[in-house]
Symmetry: C2
Subunit: 108 residues, 2 copies
């Protein structure tokens, strides 16, 4: 069975998580440094806004996601961060549609 | 700025939601029929297992996601379903890795 584009997208996100989780320490979880690298390299649009590149932002995000407070983000905990990413890119999606509409109708 | 593969994946999932939401009624939300079509067309690996093609499964999933009980799934509510999909494909990802390892080491 060939994967659909949505399935490929889901696997791409999951593969990215594991690629960074495997960098150091526990190969199945993200450390603070691994999470920071994952976000900086893979979701620059998310990181560019709202001062998210400030060290305190990533530390706070890490702490909020680390429900069992073991100083590691497991895949289940990563879903909290993924939810934030999806909501942010959903807003960006609508902003792009709006900009496209305005350009087409010469509203700028 | 060129989108990364993870950003493309996030936009792909968001685009898919809107493509099906626009089919009938409120163009920003999914009806039961729209959710069913979205799942059948885009996540067949998810739908193939655990009797998920049974009508009662999709109806139950729809009800569980529809937090405000307005008989529509808005994007925020869709995140509940997306969480289920990501968890399911995460298991499939590990199963594939395991199968690959076993094949390479002639363990079958």
């Amino acid at each position: 069975m060939t994967d659909t584009r949505v399935e490929e997208s889901l696997f791409q996100i999951i593969h990215c998580y594991h690629e960074y989780a495997a960098r150091e320490g526990d190969a199945e979880t993200l450390s603070l440094e691994e999470l920071k690298a994952l976000l900086m390299d893979n979701v620059p649009r998310f990181m560019e806004t709202l001062g998210r590149k400030e060290p305190y932002y990533i530390t706070q995000l890490f702490r909020a996601a680390d429900k069992n407070q073991d100083n590691q983000i497991c895949f289940e905990e990563f879903l909290y961060i993924l939810g934030k990413l999806v909501k942010d890119y959903h807003l960006q999606y609508h902003r792009q549609l709006c900009a496209h509409y305005c350009t087409q109708h010469s509203l700028y």
